[in-house]
């Protein structure tokens, strides 16, 4: 039999002005199961709390209802007091008779009746309530950072500086990501490599960071604080522990005419290579597709010339399992390609721009490489087809972006700015050239950004044309650009020597597959979804996984770095405790009755529901049922409302409790 105590607060006069608190307390005393009721001037004051504690002890109460303000105000206070008196805090509830009653009604009779009803509701709720123990989970204080672009680098360094172990997994042979490819960066035009490479070296040298380059995530299991991550280290064909990075192999490799991905295919590399001179780690990798040894069994030059004997043609992929407490996903972006898209792809190409067949139409990243002092042209702007300096150059913004007809309706956010930057770089390098930009809007919100764009127009003499380009074609060695100027209301035709497209930012190749491994959600474009657009912009809905950089949406470097540091801070917050304690409002499955339909699993927004095999004594699987991982469950209760057999229940909001409340109506 329950012994509930009801405490009705006056809140000075805030409640008692419209609610007859004495009558409410008296009525409460008549509810079956209520062992004690009283009213008091200020329940939250020390004497008020002491009254509560004393009553619990004296009347041997099994549950408490404080009829006062909103639980959002003082639930913590009273639960703590109840706890101090030896009661489970979760059988202490508040009946909200202030915000929901005395403050919003004037008719004393009706307000008093309502207050009594509210108390009754909560008494029934507490009567059916259970004692709950807070959930604690241990935390492994080691972080995993996936992706070694500027986002991953920043997050890793921050966490490592805080004294925690960090594992960085990068898919490519070197970390650096896109920022390593850039020439100079807006809005200050500092040299990207100059500010980037020291950070890359820091990663390599940091005692708390372990770098897995040329590696990928194979499998992720577990939950916040307790992930088990399997990493596949791809065969590099060079033993990292032996290689000194002398580069002799690279110099001697006879296969030298392979387009270098780092230079967007405009420079050449050998079959054994490092993507760029400042690569971290500075260990070469053999591109097996293009190596004569791997293709026909002949050559072996690199192994012969390698002093330390680091080249190993037999090397195989290796798998390592790591225990991880928190994960930062920083896999970045790729650029949209205007090529004809494969059958069935939701994103189309740009036939009107020649589907990528006109050699002097390039994308923004290629322009970065051409403008980069360490790029394939040594920093000279030369067009790919014949190496001539373009005197008329056309930039086109919003290519692929903001084009729902092509399958992408979002704005890529960075291209207005980098196009403005490109016109400046062009003007600095080709003094007698003219840059034209076709744009729809100049989106330049950011500190110093609009000033930057205006400088491109006013001082660097870029001609901005407000309108889109409809078509381009090659005529002789010119590209005819057919656009329009919507401000004048006429068509514009430019005979360009070279065209640079500001193509859309898209999520990295395979972003969806990685998300599925991690159990995090992503939008229809494959950008990863944050838990809340405004207030949880770095957390994933899945606890213990955080987002940084362009994998979550198009971002420039300042935004990327801010988010990366924020993600790192979140990881450090998590690592500040040895044990995670969380509200025990989580769902549980009654194993006896679950029929294994997994309707619950489909609706759970947190992916907290797993399949669990029930075995008999011989170890045969007798049935597969649902299991809620308490570390992951967010406590929304959607599963319970969905479950056809009502076998999954949310603690604190059981059907029994709610039905009991409804019965009082």
């Amino acid at each position: 039999m329950s012994r509930i105590g009801v405490f009705v607060c006056h809140c000075g006069e805030n409640i008692s002005r419209t609610v007859d608190v004495e009558q409410v307390a008296a009525a409460a005393g008549n509810i079956p199961g209520v062992a004690f009721s009283c009213d008091y001037k200020y329940m939250c004051s020390d004497p008020g709390q002491n009254l509560l504690k004393k009553a619990i002890a004296e009347h041997n109460l099994t549950g408490v209802v404080v009829a006062a303000c909103s639980p959002r105000m003082h639930e913590k206070t009273f639960r703590k007091a109840a706890g101090a008196a030896g009661l489970n805090p979760y059988v202490c509830e508040m009946a909200n008779i202030r915000e929901h009653c005395s403050w919003v009604h004037e008719n004393r009779e009706m307000a008093t009746a309502k207050a009594s009803d509210i108390v009754h509701l909560m008494v029934e709720r507490v009567k059916k309530g259970k004692s709950l123990a807070p959930i604690t989970v241990p935390v492994t204080k080691k972080a995993l950072v996936i992706g070694g672009g500027i986002a991953g680098i920043q997050a890793a360094l921050d966490i490592a500086d805080a004294g925690h172990q960090v594992l960085v997994v990068e898919r490519e042979p070197s970390i650096g990501g896109h920022m390593a490819q850039l020439s100079e960066t807006f809005p200050t035009l500092d040299c990207s490599q100059c500010i980037m490479t020291p950070k890359m070296v820091d990663v390599a040298n940091h005692p708390n960071i372990t770098l897995y380059s040329y590696s990928e995530i194979e499998k992720v299991e577990g939950y916040i604080g307790n992930f088990q991550v399997t990493v596949r280290k791809k065969a590099r064909s060079v033993d990292e522990s032996k290689c000194t990075g002398c580069g002799v192999c690279i110099a001697k490799c006879p296969k030298k005419k392979i387009p270098n991905e780092f230079d967007q295919g405009h420079g050449m590399r050998s079959a054994i290579y490092v993507p760029f001179p400042q690569a971290v780690p500075n260990t070469p990798v053999i591109d097996r597709e293009n190596c004569t040894m791997f293709q026909s069994g002949k050559c072996g030059v690199c192994a012969k010339v390698c002093g330390p004997g680091a080249v190993d043609y037999q090397q195989e992929d290796t798998l390592t399992v790591e225990s991880i407490g928190a994960i930062v996903v920083a896999t970045g972006f790729k650029l949209y390609s205007i090529d004809r898209k494969p059958e069935g792809s939701m994103i189309q190409g740009y036939g009107e721009f020649g589907y990528g067949t006109i050699p002097d139409i390039v994308d923004g990243m290629t322009f970065e490489r051409l403008a980069s002092a360490s790029g394939p042209t040594g920093g000279k702007i030369l067009r790919p087809s014949d190496g001539k300096e373009p005197k008329q150059i056309v930039f086109i913004q919003c290519v692929g972006s903001r084009a729902r007809e092509k399958g992408i309706s979002y704005c890529s956010k960075i291209c207005c700015m980098y196009t403005a930057k490109h016109t400046m770089l062009y003007h600095h390098k080709v003094h007698d050239g003219q840059a034209y930009v076709f744009f729809m809007d100049a989106r330049t919100p950011g500190k110093g950004y609009d000033e930057f764009w205006r400088r491109a127009v006013e001082e660097e003499e870029a001609v901005y044309i407000r309108g889109m380009v409809s078509r381009m074609y090659q005529k002789g060695d010119k590209i005819i650009v057919m656009g329009s100027d919507t401000l004048v209301g006429v068509q514009v035709e430019i005979e360009a020597d070279m065209v640079v497209l500001a193509t859309a930012v898209q999520p990295q190749e395979g972003a969806d597959l990685l998300a599925q491994k991690l159990g995090i959600s992503y939008d229809k474009y494959n950008f990863y979804s944050e838990a809340h657009a405004k207030l949880k912009p770095v957390e994933c809905a899945t606890a213990g996984i955080y987002l940084a950089g362009a994998c979550q949406g198009p971002k420039d470097i300042p935004d990327t770095v801010s988010q990366a540091s924020a993600a790192a801070a979140k990881v450090m917050t998590l690592f500040a405790k040895d044990q995670l304690e969380r509200d025990p409002v989580v769902a549980k499955v009654n194993e006896k009755y679950c029929v294994g339909c997994f309707a619950c699993k489909k609706v759970c927004p947190y992916g907290a529901i797993e399949e669990k095999e029930i075995k008999d004594r011989q170890g045969n699987v007798v049935k597969v049922i649902a299991y809620v991982n308490p570390g992951v469950c967010g406590g929304c209760g959607t599963c319970q409302a969905t479950c056809p057999s009502k076998t999954v229940e949310l603690d604190g909001y059981t059907d029994e409790q709610i039905m009991a409340m409804i019965e009082t109506l």
């Binding site: 959002r72 403050w103 919003v104 657009a533 209760g637 959607t638 319970q640 409302a641 909001y653 109506l665």
Partner: protein, 167 residues
């Protein structure tokens, strides 16, 4: 705000199923802003509208509610990301069912009230209360429940005879 409150001949019972994060907080805001609305509503708090089982709504009607309000976060603002989305889908199907069993759908209101929309809470509650007041007491389900009680009680001679014949 809405000045009130004289007692009417018919005071409907209105039950509101609300989520903690948005609508409950919105109702709190109406309170702290001292807005006024009819005292007919009883609020039941849920973590999320996703937790609200249509059975609760049926039961509330059976237990004498004349109007039911279900309110949660705006789409896209759900504290649990997608709970309200699932709830919406569930309720869409449920409305059809209610319609089928003969409940006037005007007695059931779904709305979105955010934590900042104290005013909207007042509007929604006032409007529903007044609407239901105009419609008069909800009879259909109460009768149903009476029937249920009747058939559940052993005191009728017919049932007694039936039971006797089994044992």
């Amino acid at each position: 705000m809405h000045a009130e409150q004289v007692k009417h001949d018919f005071e409907p019972k209105v039950v509101a199923f609300v989520c903690t994060w948005c609508t409950y907080a919105g109702a709190d805001l109406a309170g702290t802003s001292r807005m006024q609305y009819p005292p007919n509503v009883r609020v039941l708090k849920f973590p999320c509208t996703g937790r609200i089982d249509p059975v609760f709504i049926l039961r509330a009607f059976q237990k004498g509610a004349d109007g039911v309000l279900v309110s949660g976060c705006h789409p896209g603002d759900c504290h649990y990301m997608a709970g309200n989305f699932h709830a919406r889908r569930r309720f869409a199907a449920f409305r059809a069912l209610l319609d089928f069993v003969g409940v006037d759908l005007n007695r059931l209101q779904f709305s979105w009230v955010s934590a900042a929309e104290g005013g909207k809470w007042v509007e929604v509650v006032t409007e529903l209360t007044e609407r239901v007041r105009g419609m008069g007491p909800m009879k259909e389900f109460k009768e149903l429940e009476l029937e249920e009680q009747w058939s559940a009680s052993l005191s009728t001679p017919e049932l007694k005879a039936a039971y006797d014949s089994i044992t």
